[in-house]
């Protein structure tokens, strides 16, 4: 172990002068306005701090105006939600449950996301996945509650956040243009209409098939002579049709 001696370059006369002067300079700078933002009383998302977060007197560094991108509590516009489940599927933490909300037709109740903020990691995949832009992340970040059950935000509470008109992230992720499409394995289809009935965007229409004329001795399959046709530009690729298909005849495939 080496005995530590001062380096030859250090000046013994000024051995503490530099740091003392630097600290004193900082003292002078922060005497009137330290760069602390006194949180509960002053807030970064406050418009006052938008233009210039003052680091030191006379030296504004403004990054406040892009605060809107912050990923905080979600806002849900229930009216435009199409119950496509994509937010729940994309959630890595499985913190989104689809719960029934009033307003749907009784046979197919409308389902909207309910988010458990005890599990949420604020990754934003759900708002990226939302095809209608109705589930977005706002700048609200204060979540402290005294009971664990209060961490679960029902769709109604998420709508309250939406109605508060908080700034929301302006960045929308575009869907890739050549995304995979819903394809039909035509020989398996029985034309049951389940897919068209449950499609949240109503982009599936059942078209009539020409009923073939049976040749001699051949038996026609028992089915409704209709077949789904998917409008790719309206389809949000939620996969509801695939999951409801009783014959598993719909599948993902490369775009036509």
């Amino acid at each position: 172990m080496a005995e530590s001696e001062p380096t030859p370059s250090s000046n013994p006369v000024l051995w503490v002068a530099k740091p003392l002067v630097t600290a004193a300079r900082q003292f002078g700078k922060s005497l009137f306005r330290p760069s602390t933002i006194v949180y509960p009383f002053e807030r970064l998302e406050d418009p006052k701090f938008r233009g210039a977060v003052r680091v030191a007197p006379g030296k504004p560094i403004g990054v406040g105006q892009v605060w809107d991108n912050y990923r905080g509590v979600h806002a849900l516009n229930i009216d435009t939600c199409i119950s496509c489940n994509l937010c729940a599927f994309s959630c890595p933490d499985l913190c989104i449950d689809m719960v029934t909300v009033p307003g749907g037709d009784p046979r197919h109740p409308k389902k909207c996301p309910q988010i458990d903020y005890g599990k949420c990691s604020y990754c934003g995949f759900c708002s990226d996945a939302c095809p209608e832009g109705c589930l977005t992340m706002t700048t609200r970040y204060e979540l402290s509650v005294s009971k664990r059950a209060d961490m679960i935000y029902s769709p109604e509470r998420l709508r309250e956040v939406f109605n508060a008109k908080l700034p929301m992230s302006p960045i929308r992720v575009e869907r890739p243009k050549n995304e995979d499409a819903i394809l039909l394995d035509a020989p398996l289809c029985i034309g049951c209409n389940a897919c068209a009935r449950d499609c949240p965007t109503k982009c599936i229409t059942m078209v009539d098939l020409p009923k073939p004329v049976p040749k001699g001795g051949e038996k026609l399959p028992k089915r409704i002579w209709k077949e789904p046709v998917v409008n790719d530009s309206d389809c949000v690729r939620c996969g509801t049709c695939i999951s409801v298909c009783p014959k598993e005849c719909l599948f993902w495939g490369t775009h036509r």
């Binding site: 530590s4 503490v16 003392l20 600290a23 900082q26 003292f27 922060s30 602390t36 006194v38």
Partner: protein
Amino acid sequence: MAPLSLYGVANTLVSTLLLHLAAVLPAPLSTLASNSGLITALSVLLFGAILLGASLLNTILLIWFERKMLGRFMDRRGAMHVGYAGLLQNFADGLKLFRKHTFKPRDADGLGFFSAPTAYMVTSIVMFGILPISTGWNSGSLPLSLLLALVVFSFAPLFIFLGAWSSANKYSLIGGMRSAAQMIAYEVPILLAVVAVILLSGSFDLSTIVAEQRNYWFWGPLFLALLVFVAGMLAEMERIPFDLPEAEAELVEGWNTEYGGMLFAFFMLADYARALVGSYLIVLLFLGGWTMPGWVPAPLTNFPLAGILWFQVKTYLVFGVFIWVRASLPRVRTDQLLRVGWMRMIPLALLSIVLAALVVLAKCLPVFGCVPSVGG
């Protein structure tokens, strides 16, 4: 009217009260109430209570001062929510600590564990009774008050080590060892620096030392001694850069790791009381105490309590320097600290004694027309 003094005030209060009591009380009690011995005893008690209360308030104010100053050095605000500008924050903290459960680690030695903070506190508080704050505001003119002050001041390592040893924790033990080593190492240069002051002033009485500084403050001729004394005081107070005993980076909290609640508050308060006392000593010995130089206009120096005010202003300035140092310097290492103490500070202190002797000699020269005050 005699010059305002704390004992005078206490005495007046007590005697007025008791004489008024005696006027209304029946015969045997009234003679008892107007007994001069009782009046003296009660005045002394009242005097002590006022002194103690004022000193503790001052200590707490000092903590506030450090928190605010340090905050500005660090580009933040310090305490600001309880009371005006956070003035009552320390009381709130004290209240919180007071409400906490006082506990003792299982293996700790109860007697040492509980007595160490108390003794540490007592020895620190006693200093306020010894040090004069202004003329008439001390507990009486002791002929050897400087020596007494230094003796009481140097009790601390004993109690720190007692607390560290009895709390049965390895960190506490290391911190206590460091503390003892460091304080003992720095007692010597402090005493030597004080010798220079004694040489120059010719007295062990702090009031006399301050009075001797009416013409020139001692920091001019005794600059080296001041340097040694300030460094020694930094070490005695265990403040950065010499806060190795409670170096939180490696020793968690040093010798008071195991203390919590009111026991910790005792240590904390006593630490700052010692810091205040150290600043007092520096002001008394080197910065002219409550006197002000002649160029300060008279209205600023001759109003009532001016001495106390200036004394406090100087004290806070001195402590401000300590805060400044704390905000800008890293901590040194034990071996470096001890090496500096034994190998740099002591020679410097000896040199300053020589310088003080030279100054005394120079004063004897007929050029200055002075009479030597040393050796009687």
